[in-house]
């Protein structure tokens, strides 16, 4: 049962961290909890579908369907996070102002909140599908009882939710005015990390056979499959044996999102300055 819980927890850790960061980043935006919950529910449902279709998915694109699907899902998450960050750069100041003045949530236009749903959904989709396959395997093999599966799975899921909550609480301890700077940085790193993971899947499928060799190996000091390594992997994209292409894409995404965010922010500040004058 402990082994089951541990495996489920490991898969859920990454999703939990993403959800925690996104919830903290949208603090003060009205109804973001409902949008996040919608995304989580859709992600879980999608995970069931992906798991059920796993072998058909794998057979696509000359047997590289699974890799390309994972890469596509991760890329979607990167684009959504980039969008989210530029949107927050535009509205974050206004939200922080009102939230600290009124101590209340702000309705800041509903449209971009679908982004929150998509990010949460995508986070659960990929890892969730692996959990479903794993638990289904236990159920089918019948060696360990159903109780083991249910209890172990539940403990693992709760563990993921706990991590999510802890990270959220930790981030909300940051004063509102600084919170956006912190979450903006976190989301940029998160997106770069997911992009690097997408590259790994594309390289695994054999479509990107340049810079495939390992750039460094820090697996002895900070193994990626240990708990600290996993948390860093999920949050900032730590990889103990990155390929050259992963590093290039990581840095490129970092620069692009930071650049976009900065441009939007300076435009907003410029407009505010003109309005004041």
């Amino acid at each position: 049962m402990l082994a089951t819980a541990l495996i489920v927890f490991r898969e859920m850790l990454e999703a939990g961290l993403v959800v925690g960061v996104v919830l903290a980043a949208t603090r003060g935006v009205r109804r973001r909890g409902a949008w996040a919950a919608l995304g989580v529910a859709a992600g879980v449902a999608g995970a069931g579908v992906v798991a059920a279709l796993a072998d058909r998915l794998a057979a696509l694109a000359q047997g590289t369907g699974q890799e390309l699907f994972n890469a596509a899902v991760l890329t979607l998450a990167v684009v959504m996070l980039a969008w989210h960050n530029t949107w927050m750069a535009k509205h974050g100041r206004e939200i922080a102002d009102r939230a600290s003045r009124l101590g209340a949530a702000v309705a800041a236009g509903e449209r971009p909140l679908i982004v929150v749903s998509v990010i949460c959904g995508v986070a659960l989709l990929r890892e969730g599908a692996e959990v479903v396959l794993f638990l289904y395997g236990i159920a089918v093999s019948g060696r360990t009882g159903t109780n083991t599966m249910v209890v172990g799975g539940a403990i693992g899921l709760l563990g993921g939710a706990l991590v999510s909550t802890l990270l959220y609480l930790g981030l909300t301890a940051v004063p509102v005015r600084k919170l956006f700077a912190v979450t903006s940085t976190l989301i940029t790193l998160l997106a770069a990390g997911l992009a690097a993971q997408a590259v790994a899947f594309v390289q695994q499928s054999g479509y990107l056979e340049v810079w495939t060799s390992t750039a460094w190996d820090s697996s002895r000091w900070l193994p990626e499959d240990g708990l600290p390594g996993r948390v860093l992997h999920a949050l900032v994209g730590y990889t103990d044996r990155p390929s050259g292409a992963q590093i290039v894409v990581y840095l490129a995404v970092l620069l692009v999102i930071a650049g976009l965010t900065r441009v939007v922010r300076s435009r907003v500040l410029g407009a505010a300055g003109r309005a004041a004058a």
Partner: protein
Amino acid sequence: MRGVRPKRMGTAVAVPLVAWMLAVGTVRGDDLTVVAVTIRDHRFGPSEIHVPAGRPARLDITNQDPTAEEFDSPALKVEKVIAGGKSGSVRIRPLERGRYPFVGEYHEDTAKGEVVAD
């Protein structure tokens, strides 16, 4: 400009990506070393897999168990789920000489092995 940028960004990324994948897809799969591997009772056979160093290779893995397994190896930079009773291929990038451990993530206590590049 509100709401336009992400769409453009998506198109700007997707179109060249797909075009290039189609182009690369046609030249893939040349002179590979192919090794057949089976998963049975949550064990890999063979568990020590030899591939030539500096050349790409492919593992054709057949899962004879009724349950899914995830071939997982940070050393090889591979994560691949193989459904129960199904098979799947894992591409191995050109490796330097050495030993590269892997596990079946769902049954780590028994499902483990190494790719040896020599």
